[in-house]
Amino acid sequence: MSENTSINAAGEAVVKAEHEIGSGMSKKEAKRIRMETMSREELAYLRRKSIAEKVWPFFRFVILFGLGFVIMYPLIYMVSCTFRERSDMNDPTVMWIPRHYTLSIIKETIQAMDFWKTLRTTLVLNIGCSLVQVISCAITGYGFARFKFKGKNLLFGIVIMMILVPTQVISLPLYVQFRYFGIRGLFTVNLIDNMLTMYLPALTANGIRSGLMILIFRQFFKGLPRELEDAAYIDGCGPFKTFIRVMVPNAASSFLTVFLFSVVWYWNDYYVSTTFFTNTKTVALMLTNLDSELKIRLFNDPTVQISPREEIVWKEAGCLLSIAPILVMYTFLQKYFTEGIERSGLVA
């Protein structure tokens, strides 16, 4: 009680003082009085602070602009190359702004990459795999997060191993395995060049970077309060029903984030797909083989010589085409890429 009154008294005094300052004196005067009552350290601190506040934004701008330029440079260059004629490549005066604008380069590149068909294949494959993989990884992650069972630590060690072992180590035996898929002696199928080589691992939580995804989901589910599930159990839900009805809705936004990342990883992958695909083409594969495709499809002649400098034009156009869909997605869903990470459990 006494504390309260004293606080009130102090508050009144402040209000009174401010009132006096406001009415009786000019602002300058008030400032002067405040400055006089301060110690030397306080003044020094304020001075330092005000200098820093004025100078820092300038430095910040320079740093961000310079480094942002390093990131944007290749992208701007891509756009610049895509819409110029290839003779401009040999013109030393042309750096950024083309002398002759043209749409023919991008048209030729679309033709060489068989872009629309490739895009469709890639999208179906990516979205399908990502969807299946997110679901399977979420289930696995939940199992690791909330249940105690024998050998759990050992099994989780395997998940960590999945993150650490480079794909290159296992891709070769995997190739052989898919080539003769089935039970030895009974039946074998050749799965090479079949989309199942991507779908099957994704379905069983063993696709591209699935170790990382399991880890993310485990962390995320560990961070959710246990009371959620206990309530469901008491109401008579089994663990699977609880997972679907209670946990999944709570994890919706982190599902989306992980899904988006998964789409990006599948989109960018060319290592796994070169290993398993021969005729199936994804955008990333088309881009890596662009120069040979160019010669075959544009000039009908695999031996034609194009100067490497001129070839850059098509390459850059190819790059632009292959990142365009991802960039569009990124522009619209940027929020989920950047803010989702905080909620997705990597931070726990």
């Binding site: 944007m72 399977s136 050998g151 063993n206 990006v264 490497p308 990470i341």
Partner: protein
Amino acid sequence: MAKKRPDPEIEAAKEKAAQMKAEIGTELPPLKAGDTPSEEPVPAAAAPAKEPKHSKLPYEKRKALYGYGFIALWMVGTLLFFLIPLVTSLYYSFCDVQVNPGSLDTKWVGLQKYSDVLTVDPNYTDYLGDMLLETLWKTPLVLIFSLFIAVILNQKFKGRVLARAIFFLPVIIATGPVYRIINGDMSSTGNTGAAQFSTMFSTDLIGELMNFLGIYGLSDNMGTVISTVADNIFGIVWSSGIQILLFLAALQNIPPSAREAVQMEGATAWEYFWKITFPYVSPFILANLIFTVIDSFTSPMNSVMNRILDMKNDWKFGEASAMAWIYFIIVLAAIGLVTAIVNKFIYYEVD
């Protein structure tokens, strides 16, 4: 309540038991031993008796069964698409592998492939050394840089959204073939113009900037230093997208009360960074460190990986596997060592 409860639980247990049995019986032999005892009571509960017999199966055990149920899919996949190939690749590394149409013939040769790779192969050890050295100096730079950028991006200023969008761009581009092209590495397609790409994007960049600023008369020595830095700035900026993202998330977890307290005490931004920011983000330094190391070791851009690929394309599976395994063991050792050291300097907030 008492009437309502048993039914769904028994149903679920029945289903689960059947499913588990099927899985354990057919696909997952290693689990059998551990699970036999708990397998017995479940069919008993599934018997026609209407009494809530599930109480016979201890709660803990039932939960364990569900746990296996949740990870069963992953276990099947891991066995097929991870463990078996992993062991096979280890086996190949001890063998002379002959590829014939229709089959792979293996002949056990012991450690010969390993000694061949380490002593006979002209490039492998060099690549390995370069790779390790590069990771050693690049990783700290990436970490410092990404923390620095994250601190800046965490401040309030105009155009912050745009700045963030730009700095996260590498996250979506840097894992793909586009990055290889802009980084001037087209070895996979045997492109002859590779040199031109790289000069265009790094050395030229700094030259332009120098000309722009009106600085011409630099000594050659200085020029090389600057262009090396520029080369690496490109690599560093482009490989720290995820790290910035993680650090930023960590920074946003710092309670505002900490900032207020520090302002009351009159600390400078510098002191604030070392006394508040740094301890709060230190657990993420470890996470980011491991991520960076793995990223640089497993990136398809690195020379060791390319050497392994070349070997594979020459159908020298034995050598390729041996190389991959030597490399992998070194990576594991490096990560283990780093984790052990860094763990000593980390501040964990006790809740």
